[in-house]
Symmetry: C2
DNA sequence: CGGGCCTTTGACTGGTTTCAACTTCTGTGG
DNA sequence: CCACAGAAGTTGAAACCAGTCAAAGGCCCG
């Protein structure tokens, strides 16, 4: 919980009492590795905040392959934003990459929270702004770099993440095949 | 202005008096076709809201080609979010595709606005949420579809936009060359 | 009516995928 | 604690999607 408090403190100013009240709107969960939090075809009922561990979002492409589009590690939110906002079926899955501790909230609770604690409008405004800025940069990278450059960039920018996550998920996230990642790594080794 | 009022009404509830106060934080501008609103290397000082017309954001890639990453039409915001938030130099340009009427606001004014009218925190929270949801879907499309499928999808989803915008900008936005777009169109014709 | 920008066409190239076979790692039950 | 099965990673050959380059045609706007 201390980790969530520190996270909130980076965006808004609240006292202990208010923090306790805010926290009561969330539910804490322990998730096993590979456990599903949301599956394709289900209504997207919740948002997930990672206190510890790592989640990923993926979809099944026309060849039946899992295509990872997003990772969430400590202090990041993850959900299918559109499906959550409109409470409709999602065509994504969300699954734990590692054993994780998370907070969840559903739309009704979140609206309640925002009504009772307007400071959280500011918090979520800043969170979405940050998330949107990140995806603007990500889209630029997708346009700008070859697959090989994407891997190089990613592995120098987040070397600790490369250690933490299996290669085939890295390949999937960067948008190419595990075989090609192997080839890139071989080339870099020599 | 009526168009901006209607836009705000979709997200928040305000009266005429409050709307007038809010509006006073923005500046209205008339922009000529091809006019620059922001150029590569400049600090990103403002956000732009399109009342009428169309803007685009692009960067210059290593080959010196303009790579369009975003269009903004009526009722959309556009800026380099990260550079704006941190008031740093942007490596994007923003330019008018058509003669446009826009609202602009800078960071200091926006903070003032948010302080005096907290309801605007809610507005911007929803705007960023919507923008983030859109870019989540966009990233999925980039992973899921071939270039040809991207064009097909785009041209059936937004046929009016295809009419409105020159082909080479469509190609740039979808991430391929004008030559390849020509080839796709030829194939579809036959 | 002319010039320059936009679009089209075609030949060639290369980055990336696909497929199949093989090796190495990992975790689970006996 | 070991054995073994399935999962993850590697390698190489063949195929393909899309880019590059060059040249010609069309069209808009001054």
């Amino acid at each position: 919980m201390e980790t969530f408090r520190q996270h909130l403190d980076k965006f808004i100013t609240i006292n202990d009492e208010e923090f306790a009240l805010i926290l009561s709107f969330f539910q804490m969960l322990e998730i096993k590795k590979k456990q599903d939090l949301m599956v394709d075809g289900e209504v997207c009922k919740s948002m997930f905040f990672v206190l510890k561990g790592c989640l990923r979002k993926f979809f099944i492409n026309e060849k039946g392959i899992e295509q990872t589009t997003e990772f969430a590690i400590e202090n990041w939110w993850i959900t299918d934003t559109f499906a959550y906002e409109h409470q409709i079926k999602s065509d994504f899955c969300i699954q734990a990459v590692e054993r994780s501790t998370i907070l969840t909230i559903d739309l009704q609770m979140q609206e309640e929270l925002l009504k009772k604690h307007p400071v959280m409008e500011r918090y979520f405004r800043m969170i979405y702004q940050r998330a949107y800025a990140a995806s603007e940069r990500r889209i630029r990278y997708l346009y700008e770099m070859s697959r090989e450059e994407l891997y190089l960039h990613f592995s120098t920018q987040y070397p600790w993440f490369i250690q933490r996550i299996p290669q085939y998920l890295i390949a999937s996230f960067l948008g190419f095949t595990p075989e090609y990642l192997s080839e890139i790594r071989a080339k870099l080794r020599s």
